[in-house]
């Protein structure tokens, strides 16, 4: 377990309006020697500039074609990117932000199925996932689905 209380092979759900704490956790993990992968709906340049993430792989959930883009309409591309990262990384940290965008494009149940697949990939790896989301955008039932298999301990605060 890292000094931040993050275990390899675990996925964490972080409830926040904007992914600020998620990025702070992510950055602290990078400073502890973790390799990083960030998937977000925010423009990568903006994330790099605001949080000083110079070398980290950042992909934007975006329909435009481009090396740094992942289409939210293609869950397979997202799971492939995560599998590629976890299989080539011994100590990895993944920050995932933009679940609401995936739900818009794929519906809630299909997105949950994707998230279950991502969680399975994480469980069989040495990487950790932080899923940052704005819980006010989800119904009570949807949140219960999300909380069933993801760890909630990060919501107690950044140690």
């Amino acid at each position: 377990m890292s000094k931040l209380g993050i275990r390899p092979g675990c996925s964490y759900l972080l409830k926040e309006e904007e992914p600020k704490r998620g990025i702070r956790y992510f950055k602290k993990l990078l400073n502890l020697g973790f390799k990083g992968l960030c998937i977000t709906k925010i423009r990568p340049e903006e994330v790099r500039k605001s949080y000083d993430l110079k070398k980290t792989k950042i992909f934007q959930l975006n329909d435009k074609k481009g090396i740094g883009n992942l289409s939210p309409k293609s869950p397979v591309c997202i799971i492939n990117k995560i599998e590629e990262f976890t299989s080539s990384t011994r100590k990895g940290a993944i920050l995932f932000e933009g679940l609401d965008k995936l739900i818009e494009e794929n519906n809630f149940l299909n997105t949950m199925s994707l998230l279950e697949d991502i969680n399975d990939t994480i469980m069989t790896s040495e990487s950790s996932l932080i899923l940052s989301l704005d819980d006010s955008k989800f119904s009570k039932k949807e949140l219960a689905f999300l909380e069933r298999n993801l760890e909630l301990s990060l919501n107690r605060g950044l140690r």
């Binding site: 092979g9 149940l109 949950m112 199925s113 279950e116 697949d117 399975d120 469980m123 069989t124 009570k140 039932k141 949140l143 219960a144 689905f145 909380e147 069933r148 298999n149």
Partner: protein
């Protein structure tokens, strides 16, 4: 308090019965399973959690099948409920004093649909009724609509742990 409640519930579990255990996370359900195994009850544990976590966190010393689309020999896919029923029925038929622990109903619903999974639960329940096994089915009730929960409770005996335990 937690240990006392689990011990009390353990005494009430009967062969041939199916139980719907309502809790946010399946913590006390796994404790029930651990105690049953300790009492020499043969078990089949199917769960969404990776077996290494189940063994480490809940101290379950039994064979565990992972409900996952991954293709390891210790997996059963949530997209194939027919295979799941077949595995469960084989165990139920061949076990004299057993417990079937099925955790991950939410995942099965996501990958199939509620009506399909309700039928699966009803089929398993029928096999359990004619057997010497018990079925433990942990679920977070908040993942279900009121009507869905009522349909599950029609055939299964609900167990609810006291809040704050």
């Amino acid at each position: 308090m937690k240990a006392e409640q689990v011990a009390e519930i353990l005494k009430t579990l009967r062969k041939g019965h199916s139980y719907l255990i309502k809790e946010k996370k399946p913590e006390l359900s796994f404790e029930l399973l651990r105690l049953l195994i300790k009492n020499k009850v043969e078990s089949l544990c199917i769960t969404r959690l990776h077996p290494k976590w189940v063994k480490r966190k809940y101290k379950i010393k039994a064979s565990i099948l992972w409900l996952s689309k991954k293709e390891y020999d210790y997996c059963t896919s949530p997209t194939d409920p027919g295979m799941l029923v077949s595995i469960l029925e084989k165990f139920i038929k061949n076990t004299k004093n057993g417990v079937v622990f099925l955790e991950g109903l939410e995942c099965l619903i996501i990958n199939n649909s509620f009506p399909i999974i309700l039928k699966v639960v009803e089929d398993i329940n029928e096999s359990i009724m004619e057997s010497n096994c018990r079925l433990l089915l942990p679920i977070d009730p908040e993942t279900l609509d009121e009507k869905e929960l009522a349909l599950l409770e029609r055939n299964l005996e609900p167990i609810e742990f006291e809040k704050g335990v």
